[in-house]
Structures are given as C-alpha cells and as structure tokens.
C-alpha cells in the first residue's frame, strides 16, 4: 500500500483534470473536491459579466455595491451604529464574539471585517462596521430583539458563498454570523435524521455522516461545501448535485429552528417525516434568503451512503436524442440514476481548447453535437453495472446514442466528470462570460441556447476573429433537473452584447413559464427580475408575509423583497 500515496500526484496528472484554483473553496481532499469545486462555479450566475481573475482584480475588486448600484439608497429609517449599541452587544455576547469597527476604527479592523463585507466572487462589497457571532439561539434572539427595537438592519450570514450578493451587506447593516453555532446535536443512524446547528459547514456534516458506523450521506452537495453552512444552504434553498436523486431541501428538511426579528424563537425542530398539523411554516424560511429571520438549527433526513458509483459519457446527435436518452435512463436505471448532465459541443470544444486534453470520445467519430454524463449510485456494484450495461446497450442499439464510454475505474470516473465541471473554468480563462442559471421545461430547454445564438449572430456579434465581441454561446447543465446554464463567452466587454441578451433572455424564459433563477436565488443580482418568474399577486403575498414577520424590515434589506 505504501505506493498509493506517491502514486497519487502522477496519476492525478495522468487524469489530466483541469487544475482548480478557487482558493476560497480549497479543502483537505482536493481530489475529491475537484469535481465539486468546479461545479460550484459552473452553477454560478453572477449576472452581468464575470471577469477573468486578472481582470476582476483590476476592475471589480474593492468597488462598493453602493457605488456600483447608485439607484439603491440607504434607508434612513435605520439607525446608525453608535458605541453604545456596540457596548450592549459586547455585554451580551462577550468580546470575542464581536468584530467592532464602530468604537475605534482602524485598518486592522477593516481587514477583519473585509471577508464579511465581500462575497466570494468579489462582486459585491458592503460597508458593515460590526460583525456579531452569537454562540446560542438565546444570544441570536437577544441580538435580533435589540436590533429590532433600535431599528438596526441585520444581514444573517453563513459561509458567505452565495452567488447573487444575498449574504453580504449593502450599506452599514450588522452582519450576524452563525459560524460559531457549529455543533452537531444528534444523529439517529436508524431513521437517518441529523440535527445540527446552522453554522455547521456542509462538508463537516457530510464527513460526520460518512464516518458513522452506518455511513450516511448529506442529501445536498455543492461546490462550496468546504465553506458553506447549513443555515445558509436552507436560507437559499441550495440545489446542488444530488437534487435529482434526493430531492430539494423542501423535501429533506424535517424541521428547523429560527429566530424572528422580534426575538421570538420559532421552534419547529421536528424530526418526523410525517406531521400534518396545520401550516408548515418551516418552508417559509427555506429559500427566504434571510429576509424573515435567522435559521439557527436544522433537522434533516439523510439517506444511506451509496456503496457503488458508475459514470458513463454519451455522445448524441441532437437535443431530441438527449431527451430520449434521459427518458430511457429514468426508465431503465430508475432508482440508481444519480446524475444526468447535458453538455453541448461548443462547451466541450472550449474545454479542449483550454486544457489541451483529448476528449474521451474523440476517437469514436466525434465531435458529437451533444454529450450527456450519466452517473449511477447504488448499494450493489454488480447490480448497478449490469443495469447500466443494459441501458447503454439499448440506447446504442436503438440509435439514440452515437457513441459513449464507461469509466473503468475511479480515475476515469473523475476524468469524465472533469469534462462537465471544467466548463466554467475553461470559459473563465477565455474572457468575460454572461451567465444565466435558468430552469425551463425540458422540451424547450436547449432552444434557449439556439435562440440566443441566432439572436447574437443576427446582430453580427459572434464569430471567429477579434472583431467579434462574442466567442461562443454554449449551454450545459443539470438535465435531470431541467436546469440549464446558458453562457455567452465574450472576448471583451461590449455594451451591444448586453443589449442583445437582455431583457431578451428573461422574456424568452417568461414566455415558456421558466424560472430566471433555478438554484442561485435572487439576492441583489436578480432583484429586478423577480417579475419575470413571479406575478404581481405572488410578489404581493410575499410582501405581506415579510410585513408580518419583519414589520420593521430590518432583516437583509435592499435585497429582493
């Protein structure tokens, strides 16, 4: 066995997976994370233009949200922080739980505050001067009650890995960090119910479950798992990689505890799968993005960890064939199907161009117009292999699939995933990218990419050569969840491109009853666009609920509601 470790670097090189350089999300098990790390980016939709790292540091870094969006004005109803306020919080929580830039501002304190003020894409930057880190629900309750009474605005913050600017302050809101509430409270290996505090890091929860005597799995997995926290996951209703298999948090979360701005503790920490006793209010907090209260504890139903996984990559002649393949996969793989990902030829060409690797299907008459990655997870490797083998044979024989391959070992499985996950990174290397994370009924899903491509071509903006601002319009995503990532890769910033894309893309989605934000939420980035996916009545009802629970509007102001 001594050889395994020395082997790793070379084998890793052999797999030629694109290296990831996303520092904020680095983790102990780099290899295991490679796939998820990159995938986090691939599902990220920072709206107007995502810059390459060098350009980002040159332009967007250090720009205050309030400068970038001058139309957002500070709400002067909110009080400004005074040393008296801070002294009260110090008294409540202790000195170690307060980062105070109010009483004695200094550059050192600004450095301490910086990570709480900026999102990890460094697109948004607020002006907070105070971070509070309560350690118990009671402390959260005392803090919020005091803020409510004194009209101090608050932004609850978990791992701060959101992609739409929902977790950072805009002006001088107090940051309420839940990071010290990081205890796992209980786990029942028979029912699979995990109860944990909101500040537990997702990966820590998953590692805990994996190392249990009967290994379980957290029903949510996403690229930022090394940093993001359970409370934030719930607040944003994070989708992630396991949604196809385990469903959304609205299904897996059994109960939660939250604190309202009044200080009232909403104790709905139910651990039962069935509980039909009136309104199920916990659902209001899932996806509320911290606008109603702060989630402090979570009870979630965790499935057993699958013992066997298989990965196949398919090459298909058209989007229609992808749909048929997906339908067949559901029919033949049913309970073991755990991922069905779509990639178009353009996206794979970009990965090839950037990494210089040979595509796994390059020998089999490729490139194909579409590729699908199929993953199965189950309890019995032989059973799964047999099913997957039969599925592959049938789709090949019936002409649905033109070519494909099956990972023979873990290294190959990771290599195949890297072709899906490397897309975002490859796009980033080539210049700015307009990204849209949308959900559209499956029948029309890829038509958005075609329509967008046609529209950009009509405007004469796309082509080979430097005179065209747009390099490519590509689509990929979680086909299993009808979640498409439309990406427009540009060579440089050009106002005409944005004019052609917006509001065209949003209107197109609205016409087909799609969602303009499939899994990233609205936050600040998509604040303006809520109307494309929710009608006036719905937005009105949301506002009523907001007014009921947070009458002073202190929770996460200036965001989507």
């Amino acid at each position: 066995m001594a050889c395994r470790q020395p082997l790793t670097p070379v084998l890793r090189r052999l797999t030629r997976t694109a290296s990831s350089e996303i520092g904020r999300h680095s983790s102990k098990s780099q290899q295991a994370l490679l796939r998820t790390t990159i995938r986090c980016l691939s599902t990220s939709q920072p709206r107007p233009l995502r810059q390459t790292p060098s350009r980002r540091t040159a332009q967007a870094k250090d720009e205050f949200t309030s400068t970038k969006y001058p139309e957002i004005q500070r709400d002067e109803r909110f009080a400004r922080l005074t040393p008296e306020h801070v002294a009260h919080f110090r008294h409540l929580l202790g000195d170690n739980a307060v980062i105070d830039g109010v009483t004695s501002p200094s550059a050192a304190i600004d450095d301490d505050l910086a990570p709480f003020n900026s999102d990890w894409m460094r697109k948004y930057r607020g002006h907070t001067q105070l971070v509070l880190k309560p350690a118990t629900t009671t402390e959260v309750s005392q803090v919020l009650a005091y803020c409510n009474e004194h009209l101090l605005a608050v932004v609850p913050q978990g791992g701060n890995t959101g992609l739409v600017g929902g977790s950072v302050p805009v002006f001088d809101e107090i940051v309420l960090s839940l990071s010290r509430m990081n205890a796992i409270l209980s786990f029942d290996p028979v029912s699979g119910v995990l109860v944990a505090e909101a500040g537990v890091i997702l990966e820590a929860a998953d590692t805990y479950l994996a190392s249990a005597a009967s290994p379980h799995i957290f029903p949510l997995d996403l690229g930022a798992k090394g940093s993001c926290q359970l409370g934030g996951n719930l607040s944003t209703n994070a989708g992630g990689l396991r949604l196809l298999r385990y469903g959304s948090l609205h299904g897996t979360v059994l109960g939660l505890e939250a604190v309202l701005p009044s200080g009232l503790v909403v104790d709905d920490l139910c651990t039962l799968r069935k509980n039909n006793t009136g309104y199920d209010l916990k659902h209001l907090f899932i996806g509320a993005e911290g606008t109603l209260g702060a989630i402090t504890k979570v009870a979630i139903h965790c499935p057993r960890r699958p013992a066997a996984q298989n990965v196949a990559l398919l090459g298909l002649p058209s989007y229609e064939h992808c749909r048929r393949a997906f339908s067949e996969a559901k029919a033949q793989l049913s309970e073991i199907l755990s991922a069905f990902e779509l990639m178009d030829a353009g996206s794979q060409a970009l990965v090839t161009q950037v990494t210089g690797n040979t595509h796994p299907l390059a020998d089999g008459g490729g490139p194909h117009p579409f590729y699908c990655l199929v993953e199965t997870s189950g309890s019995n490797a032989e059973h799964d292999s047999e099913k997957l083998g039969a599925f592959l044979e049938s789709v090949l024989d019936s002409g649905i699939v033109a070519d494909g391959t099956l990972a023979a070992d873990e290294t190959q499985a990771r290599t195949l995933w890297a072709w899906r996950e490397g897309i975002t990174e490859a796009l980033g290397h080539l210049g700015g990218v307009y990204k849209y994370d949308v959900s559209i009924p499956l029948a029309d899903m890829y038509a958005l990419v075609e329509a967008t491509r046609a529209r950009v071509a009509e405007a004469g903006l796309i082509g080979e050569g430097d005179e065209f601002p747009v390099r490519a319009v590509v689509g990929y995503g979680h086909m299993g969840d009808a979640n498409l990532h439309l990406n427009v890769a540009t060579r440089r910033f050009d106002e005409r491109v944005e004019g052609v894309l917006e509001p065209f893309v949003y209107e197109w989605i609205q016409e087909r009853q799609g969602s303009i934000s499939a899994e990233h939420g609205l936050g600040l980035a998509k604040k303006k666009y809520i109307g494309y996916s929710r009608n006036e009545t719905m937005v009105g009802l949301m506002k009523q609920i907001k007014g009921l629970y947070d009458p002073n509007g202190i929770m996460n102001p200036y965001k989507y509601i």
């Binding site: 066995m1 001594a2 050889c3 395994r4 082997l7 790793t8 070379v10 084998l11 052999l14 030629r16 290899q31 170690n96 013992a307 066997a308 990559l313 398919l314 796994p360 299907l361 020998d363 089999g364 490797a381 292999s385 083998g389 592959l392 044979e393 090949l396 699939v401 070519d403 494909g404 391959t405 099956l406 990972a407 023979a408 070992d409 873990e410 290294t411 190959q412 990771r414 195949l416």
Partner: protein, 261 residues
C-alpha cells in the same frame, strides 16, 4: 523481424482512489464491497500493447503485431478487467480462476506466466512494474530470470529497431536511462509511458460477448503454495488534528500548557 506476440498480464486490485481499511482481525485489508479496478500499471501495459499495434507515436514494430493476449489470475470478478482489456484492444483473454481471497506470491505468478508464455509462444511480455496492493515489484524480474530473457524495467518509452532490437527508456532516480535488447524480452511499465484511453461503447459491448479462456493453476502445472505467512496488518497511527483557540490569550495559555514557551 518476427511478428510480435504480446502477453499482457493484468491484476485486479482495490481501486487506487479508494481509501483502504485494515480488517478487524488484522489479517489483511477489507475487500468486501470495495471498488476494484485494474492495477494502474497494468492499465498502461494494455494501452502500450494497443499503441504498438496502432503504430502511433513512433512505436511501430517492423514485424507488426500478430496477437495481444491479456491474462489474469484472480477471483471470478477478474473477468471484468479482462473484458476491459478486450475493449481496449486485446485480441484474446485467459483467466486462471482463483478462489475469492486466494492470492499468489510473486514467484508463483512468475512461474505461472512462464508456463503461459511457453504455451502462447509469446515473444514480448509487457506488465506493470508492480501491483498497488502488495507493491512487491518482483514478478517481471523473476519472470525474465525464469525465462532467461532480457528485461527492461520501469519503461517510459518503448521503440522498435531493426533485427528484433527494442530500445526502452527507463525511469531511474533523477532521470532516465535507455537500454537496448533483442526479442524475446520482458518489459515492465512505469507511469509516464502513456495515457490509457477510454474504451468506446461499441467496443465495450463487443468485448462483453467475446469468449474468455478459462484455466486453472493445475493446467499450467503451478501450485499456489505460499512461502510467507502474514502475521499482522496494522494501519499507520492516525494523524492528530489541530485545535482552535479563541484569541491571542488563549494561544499563549495553550502554548504554556504544552510547555512550548
């Protein structure tokens, strides 16, 4: 120049990406329900044999390749890696079936391979320099010794010349060394030799239907007798995790507590 009859011996091992665990009895590692794959070095052997046939990248053998035969001695599930080898380019596969849990020491494997080489009239054996389960790194060398053939170990480049000459660049500490010998010979592979390909679906399907030659140790006149007995297997001591302190004062008192200051 003789046409090549290549023998590619391969072994089924625990997948290199899997974290191995010692079993409760401390007699070996836990294998039940653990993902197994082809030994990564053997994967390179299969790929190299195929590349020699495809005459890519200057690996052309003047006499051409007459046959590539994959061989494995292992439990019934070793068939899976033989089928993978077939899908990747082997023409035939021979499986010597062992009982689950039964394994052979390098010398037994070398004797077995010698018998296979003689039966198959192979003139080139390409095998992994070691298998990642026992890390013995002995089989290739012993086989060459038993056959009386030249051997080139740790190959990162194989080139064919005139008159059965084969030049092999070997990985050595801090650099490479190039040796030349004449067929027949034994070559063991190292990581830089090539990058194994993905077998395409049609080939995987075809390989599933190809026959496997089933043999036993007795067919080759070899006994699986063991000279070594494993007494105990233990894991390395777990790494001590770090702790967190609340502030500078906490750090100082912790350091004092540990006697560091």
């Amino acid at each position: 120049m003789s046409a090549l009859r290549i023998l590619v011996p391969i072994k089924r091992v625990i997948d290199y990406a899997v974290k191995v665990r010692v079993n409760k009895a401390q007699t070996g590692v836990e294998t039940a329900g653990v993902k197994h794959s082809i030994n990564p070095f053997d994967d390179l052997s299969v790929e190299e044999a195929t590349l020699i046939r495809e005459e890519k990248l200057g690996r052309r053998a003047p006499g051409g390749v007459e046959e590539i035969c994959a061989f494995s001695a292992g439990p019934p599930k070793a068939q899976e890696i033989l089928r993978t080898a077939l899908a990747r380019g082997a023409d035939r596969a021979i499986h010597v079936e062992l009982k689950e849990g039964e394994d052979l020491e390098p010398l037994s494997v070398a004797k077995l391979l010698k018998a296979v080489v003689e039966q198959q009239k192979s003139n080139l054996v390409i095998l992994g320099k070691q298998s990642i389960d026992d890390d013995a790194n002995q089989t290739g060398q012993m086989l060459a010794g038993l056959l009386g053939w030249p051997q080139a170990t740790q190959a990162c480049k194989i080139e064919f010349g005139e008159a059965d000459a084969v030049s092999v660049t070997q990985e050595i500490d801090g650099g490479t060394q190039t040796v030349r010998a004449k067929l027949p010979m034994v070559i063991t592979t190292d990581l830089r030799l090539n990058e194994p390909r993905f077998a395409t679906l049609p080939k995987i399907m075809k390989a599933k239907k190809m026959p496997l030659e089933k043999k036993t140790l007795a067919d080759y006149g070899v006994s699986g007798e063991k000279r070594l007995k494993v007494l105990k297997v233990i894991e390395p001591p777990p790494r001590q995790g770090g702790g967190k302190v609340e502030n500078v004062d906490g750090l100082i008192s912790k350091l004092k507590e540990l006697g560091a200051i």
